[in-house]
């Protein structure tokens, strides 16, 4: 029996209550960590949203709903919506590029697999800012890409690529593509080859075997990859600032600017909380869908 199927057999499920108590000591460190570094800070954020700002940051302890009212302004809603759209585009592109990559890597010999995986992870060894600045060197009007395009006679005038929303998509895609490839690879590599062989033996074409066997079984990995890409892409503020030239801003920039430029902690907290809630919602949807996919439709 394969590992993917094992988890779904009733025998593998211990009675709920007993399992709960037994795992308590194992859960404790993580739970404490989450309470101290997640629950309490988020609680503080929530608390901040109901007060007025101090002149140099901080809070004035006067109750107000202004921060939530301000959030409804088209200006801010527009930025949130724009961030969702940009992050979605990046996620879809990452999936389209990442899936074939992961599929190909999973089919390599073990040696080449290691090489390919190292190649994918390698950029992470370089500082994030340096990699971002590299894109500036590549994309600017006097940059390498334009020099090549002009040198090859493909264009006379440099094409403006940097400081555009498209450049932000490219930057985010580059940054987070490995986060799509790795979970996809993990799920594709786990697939039992005999399942595909069975499909082929029963007369399925390679495409049909892929569509009905491999693809559905790799969907949880794809969903995980989508979350890994969407969540940080949505909240990134460095790439919009450096590669987007500060002209197209995302909700991450908005949060940062509220704290550092505007020194408006309560409104910054409101924005940060909304961003967090949005991302939690996305993750909840993902895990619900993912559970359905692995466990099949609920019985009874």
């Amino acid at each position: 029996m394969t590992s993917t199927l094992q988890g779904t057999t009733p025998a593998a499920r211990a009675p709920r209550a007993r399992r709960g108590i037994a795992s308590l000591p194992f859960l404790a460190p993580g739970t404490i960590f989450l309470i101290v570094f997640m629950a309490i800070p988020v609680g503080l954020l929530f608390f901040y949203t109901f007060f007025k700002r101090g002149r140099f940051g901080g809070l004035v302890f006067e109750f107000t709903l202004d921060n939530w009212i301000k959030l409804a302004e088209p200006l801010y809603l527009g930025v949130i919506l724009q961030s969702i759209v940009l992050a979605l585009i990046v996620t879809v592109l990452a999936l389209l590029i990442g899936y074939p990559m992961a599929y190909a890597i999973a089919g390599l010999s073990p040696t080449w697999r290691t090489v390919a995986l190292i190649a994918i992870v390698l950029p992470f060894w370089t500082n994030f800012l340096i990699r971002t600045y590299a894109w500036i060197l590549l994309l600017n009007n006097a940059g390498w890409v334009n020099q090549w395009l002009q040198g090859l006679g493909l264009t006379d005038e440099p094409i403006s690529m940097l400081y555009t929303p498209q450049a932000i998509v490219v930057g985010l895609l580059y940054m987070y593509l490995p986060l799509m490839v790795l979970p996809l690879y993990a799920s594709l590599q786990q697939l039992d080859p005999s399942l595909r062989e069975a499909a082929t033996n029963l007369g399925a074409s390679p495409w049909r075997a892929f569509r009905t066997v491999t693809l559905p079984l790799s969907l949880p990995g794809a969903l995980t990859g989508c979350i890994f890409v969407f969540v940080p892409a949505m909240s990134n503020f460095v790439i919009p600032e450096l590669i987007g030239g500060g002209k197209t801003i995302m909700v991450g920039n908005l949060v940062r600017d509220q704290f550092f430029e505007a020194r408006d902690w309560p409104f910054g907290a409101t924005l940060a909380l909304v961003l967090t809630l949005l991302l939690v919602l996305v993750i909840l949807v993902q895990s619900a869908v993912s559970r359905r996919l692995t466990e099949g439709p609920r019985r009874g």
């Binding site: 809070l59 930025v79 800012l129 006097a142 030239g245 500060g246 505007a262 902690w265």
Partner: protein, 366 residues
């Protein structure tokens, strides 16, 4: 200010955030008398200053001269250090470098100690005008470290003409669309629009600010980018033809391309001053005063002009400056009279938030 590092600020600010809940500050006025005979070697000193804005061995130099054990810490922006200073009653900083308008605000909150002039004899090296700056008349709470203005830094070979007005930036010629950058921080975002309309850069009038905001939103699509930190490199690479720039920073471009030119637009600009202040909470005030006095030594303060390429308010230091340096970097030759034709940025109290909101809205508009 000039050393705004927005990204690094993110990290530093997280720390400030941690102090949020305990936000409170004790009042003060700085009336205690200092002991001129205090043994400085018994004191320690913590100085907070912008990164890359002082000689690397400043702490050792000062320690050698006075025996004071000195630690230098960096802040990235005025907002950053002010948040740190206002967040706790004893931030463990003795001397803080802030821009003039922030020194004014901190003094009004009672956070700064009055300077003991008997311990700062080197004040006499300053230009007389440097004692009459409106954010702190008579330098009661602050001594100036460096000063300058803001204008247009441009490549004549790329612009094809010599800009003279803020409108050259706000409504660029068609061929310069996508080839200009503006500062996006603090009071410098609104300044070109306010000055172009003939208004004060310290205005608190809502109609004037709304007009400036509308202009800036109109200008936004014509910009290559907002840039507070690398605009001069964009000039050097030719990506930009004209940028809003602090005079000292334009020099960093000139260092790579001597064709780059700086002009103060005819409508006028700001006079910004970076100052040194002593915290009221400091327990080492004698050492702090000695530190400020040490900086005001022409030999020491001239380092700023020679290495950072900012003008210093120290007459003795400026007069001793190598004329060849001024020839290479003409902004160093801007006279005190020319500087004082510009408008000094002052603190606006609660109305400062109007500028904060203006910036936030302009930057968030697509």
């Amino acid at each position: 200010m000039p050393t705004t590092r927005r990204i690094a600020a993110a990290a530093a600010g997280t720390i400030a955030l941690a102090f949020a809940v305990t936000s409170c500050s004790s009042g003060g006025g700085g009336s205690e008398t200092l002991d001129p005979a205090a043994d400085l070697s018994e004191q320690t000193l913590t100085v907070s200053i912008w990164a890359d804005y002082y000689p690397e061995d400043l702490a050792e130099q000062f320690e050698e001269a006075t025996g004071v054990k000195t630690t230098i810490v960096n802040h990235t922006t005025n907002e950053d250090i002010v948040a740190k200073l206002t967040a706790s009653s004893d931030p463990d900083i003795d001397v803080a470098f802030v821009s003039g308008q922030y020194a004014q605000a901190l003094a009004e909150q009672g956070l700064l100690a009055k300077l003991d002039k008997s311990l700062i004899p080197n004040e006499e090296n300053l230009y007389p005008e440097a004692l009459e700056l409106p954010y702190d008349e008579g330098n009661v709470y602050s001594e100036p470290y460096a000063w300058g203005t803001t204008g247009l830094c441009y490549r004549p070979d790329l612009t094809g003409y010599d800009p003279t007005s803020w409108n050259d930036l706000l409504t660029p010629k068609p061929e310069l669309v996508g080839k200009t950058t503006m500062l996006s921080t603090d009071r410098w975002l609104a300044m070109p629009a306010l000055k172009a309309a003939g208004n004060s850069l310290n205005t608190t009038d809502d109609a004037e600010l709304d007009a400036a905001k509308a202009q800036l939103i109109e200008t936004k699509p014509t910009l290559l980018a907002y840039d507070d930190t690398t605009f001069y490199t964009k000039l050097v690479s030719g990506e930009a033809a004209m940028v809003e720039a602090w005079d000292g920073w334009c020099n960093y471009g000139i260092a790579d391309n001597p064709d780059i030119t700086f002009v103060i637009p005819e409508e006028g600009a700001d006079l910004w001053v970076d100052t040194m202040t002593v915290l009221e909470s400091s327990k080492n005030k004698e050492a702090a005063m000695a530190f400020i006095d040490y900086i005001l030594d022409p030999e020491v303060q001239s380092w700023v002009a020679e290495n950072i390429l900012y003008k210093v308010p120290n007459q003795a230091a400026m007069e001793a400056l190598d004329p060849a340096l001024i020839e290479s970097y003409p902004t160093l030759g801007i006279t005190v009279d020319e500087l004082f034709e510009q408008e000094v940025i002052v603190d606006l109290g609660e109305d400062a938030l109007k500028y904060v909101d203006l910036n936030a809205e302009v930057l968030a508009t697509n």
